[in-house]
Symmetry: C2
DNA sequence: TCAAAAGTGTTTAGCCTACACCCATGC
DNA sequence: GCATGGGTGTAGGCTAAACACTTTTGA
C-alpha cells in the first residue's frame, strides 16, 4: 500500500516535472581485477536486471540530466561521460516482448503503461573508478551492483544492445583519444594501464610497444616512487597530467550540446 | 485567417499524433559543381533559414521518422542517413536569443511556445545525389533550396552548430568507411570521386594515391565505357559494387536501433 | 635460487607520401 | 599543335609491429 502510493506520486512527479517521451540510459563502466564491469540494477521483487536510466527535467540540459543520474547511482561527479547513440525504436525489446516485460516488472496495471511506454532514449557511457563508486538503487530497483561485462545476463528492454554499442564506441574512441583517467586510481602502473586497454579491446598487446605509445602521447607523468608490496620487481607509478590529458581530449572530442 | 486556422490545426495534430519534447533535424548534404551543399528552409514571411526538421509519430520508429522527413523534403528514399548527435540544451540558440528567435518567426503569441518550446533534437545527416532531390518546403517555410556549405548564413536555433558537427562526424567517418554511393550519380569517374572527397575534407589529395586507396577498398567496378564529351582525355567510368559497398559499411557502421 | 613480473632498444615490414612522364582529346 | 586533364609506378620515410635479455623481488 505504501509502495503503491509512492509509485503514484512518482508517476505524477514524472508527468509534471520531466519531459515526456524522452529518457536516458547509462552504461556505467568500471575496471577492477582485470575485468571490465558494468553497473546494473535489479528490479524490485524480481530477478530482472537493467541499466540505470533517468529522465530530463523541463529546465535541465540533457547532459546535466545524464550527470545527475550518474551522480544519483554512484555518488560520483566530474566523470567522463559520453553520448553514444539515441535509441528510438517503438518496440525496444530484444530479450523479451513488451508483454513479457510488463509482466516481469510486476507493476500495478494502472501505471504500467506510464513506466513502460514508448520512449526515445539517449544512451551515454561513463568511465568511473570502480573503488570510488557507491552503487545505489533507485525507486524501482532494490539492488545495484557491478557485473563482469562478459557475464551480463539477458536484460530488460534493449539494454544488452546498448551495452554492446557503448563498448563498440568506446573501442573506437580508444584509437584516437586517451582513456583511463576516470577508470584508474590516481596513481597507477604501466601494466595497470595496459591491462585496462587489453580488457577494453579484448586482446593482448606488446608491453614495449604499448609503453612507447603511451609515453608518446605525452600525458603521463612518471613518479619517483614505485609500487611496492607486489611479489615481483617494483613497477614505476604514473599519474595522468590532467592538463595535457584534457588537452588531448579536447583536440578530438566532439563538443556536447 | 486561413493560415492561422491551419496553424492551430497543425499544433493540435502535433499534440495528439506526435511525441512531445522530441524532434529531429536533418543536415541533408548534396554535391554539385565541386561544392558541398546543404538543404535549408526559409521561414514563411522572413529571411530566416534553418535545417529541415521533423517530429516522431507515436507508433513510428525514430529512424523511420528521419527517413520520412527526408522523403518529405527531397522526394528521395533509400538514402544514406546517419545519426550523429542528440542535442538537448534547454536554450539551443546560438545566433539569436530565444526572444529574438520567437520574434523572427512571426507566429501568433498563443502558439509560439508550442512551436519554439524546449525539445530534445536528434540530429541526422543524409548524403543525397544533388540532381535527384526535389527540395520541398514544409508548412512553416516557403522556400527550400541548396546552399553552398561555406556560405550558410546565421541560422535559427543551434542549426549552425548542427551542421558543423555533422561535417565533423562525416569527415571522421570518411577515414574508416567508404562514402559516395548516394552522393554521386550511378556511374562516375575517379576524378569525380576524388573531388567529392576533397570537398568534404576541404583539402586537395594526390591523384595517384587516391586512386590506389579507392581501388584498394575493392568496392569499385571499372566499366568498359569511358566518359566522352569532356574537353580532354576520356576518363574511365566506375560504378560502386553495391554488395561489396554495403559489406564494407556493415563491417564498421554502428547499427541503428 | 628460482619463478614471475618489469624495465629497456633495435630491427623489420607495411603503409602512406611524394613525385614525373606519357597519352588522349577538343579547340 | 597546344593546353588541359587523365592514366600509371616507384622510391623513401615514418609509423607500427616483432622480438630477447637483464633486473628485481618474494617465496
Amino acid at each position: 500500500m505504501e509502495y503503491k502510493k509512492a509509485l503514484q506520486k512518482l508517476v505524477e512527479d514524472f508527468k509534471t516535472n520531466f519531459l515526456s517521451s524522452v529518457s536516458l540510459d547509462l552504461a556505467i563502466l568500471g575496471f577492477h581485477d582485470g575485468q571490465l564491469k558494468v553497473l546494473l540494477l535489479r528490479w524490485k521483487g524480481t530477478d530482472e536486471w537493467c541499466l540505470p536510466g533517468g529522465r530530463i527535467r523541463h529546465e535541465e540540459n540533457l547532459e546535466a540530466a545524464a550527470y545527475r543520474t550518474l551522480r544519483e547511482r554512484t555518488g560520483l561527479h566530474e566523470i567522463f561521460l559520453q553520448q553514444f547513440h539515441t535509441f528510438g525504436d517503438v518496440m525496444r525489446y530484444t530479450n523479451f516482448s513488451k508483454q513479457e516485460t510488463m509482466a516481469k516488472l510486476g507493476l500495478p496495471d494502472d501505471v504500467t503503461h506510464e513506466i513502460v511506454s514508448r520512449d526515445i532514449s539517449v544512451g551515454y557511457y561513463a568511465l568511473v573508478e570502480f573503488a570510488n563508486a557507491v552503487p545505489t538503487p533507485d525507486f524501482f530497483t532494490e539492488e545495484c551492483r557491478w557485473w563482469d561485462i562478459d557475464q551480463v545476463p539477458p536484460l530488460l528492454f534493449d539494454h544488452n544492445d546498448m551495452i554492446k554499442l557503448a563498448l563498440k564506441t568506446l573501442r573506437r574512441q580508444l584509437s584516437y583519444q586517451p582513456i583511463g583517467y576516470n577508470l584508474l586510481p590516481d596513481r597507477f602502473t604501466m601494466p595497470d594501464l595496459q591491462q585496462l586497454y587489453e580488457t577494453i579491446l579484448g586482446q593482448s598487446l606488446d608491453r614495449r610497444n604499448f609503453q612507447k605509445r603511451m609515453l608518446g602521447y605525452n600525458i603521463l607523468e612518471r613518479l619517483e616512487e614505485r609500487k611496492t608490496g607486489g611479489a615481483h620487481k617494483a613497477p614505476y607509478l604514473y599519474r595522468f597530467d590532467k592538463e595535457k590529458y584534457e588537452k588531448a581530449l579536447a583536440d578530438e572530442i566532439l563538443f556536447v550540446g
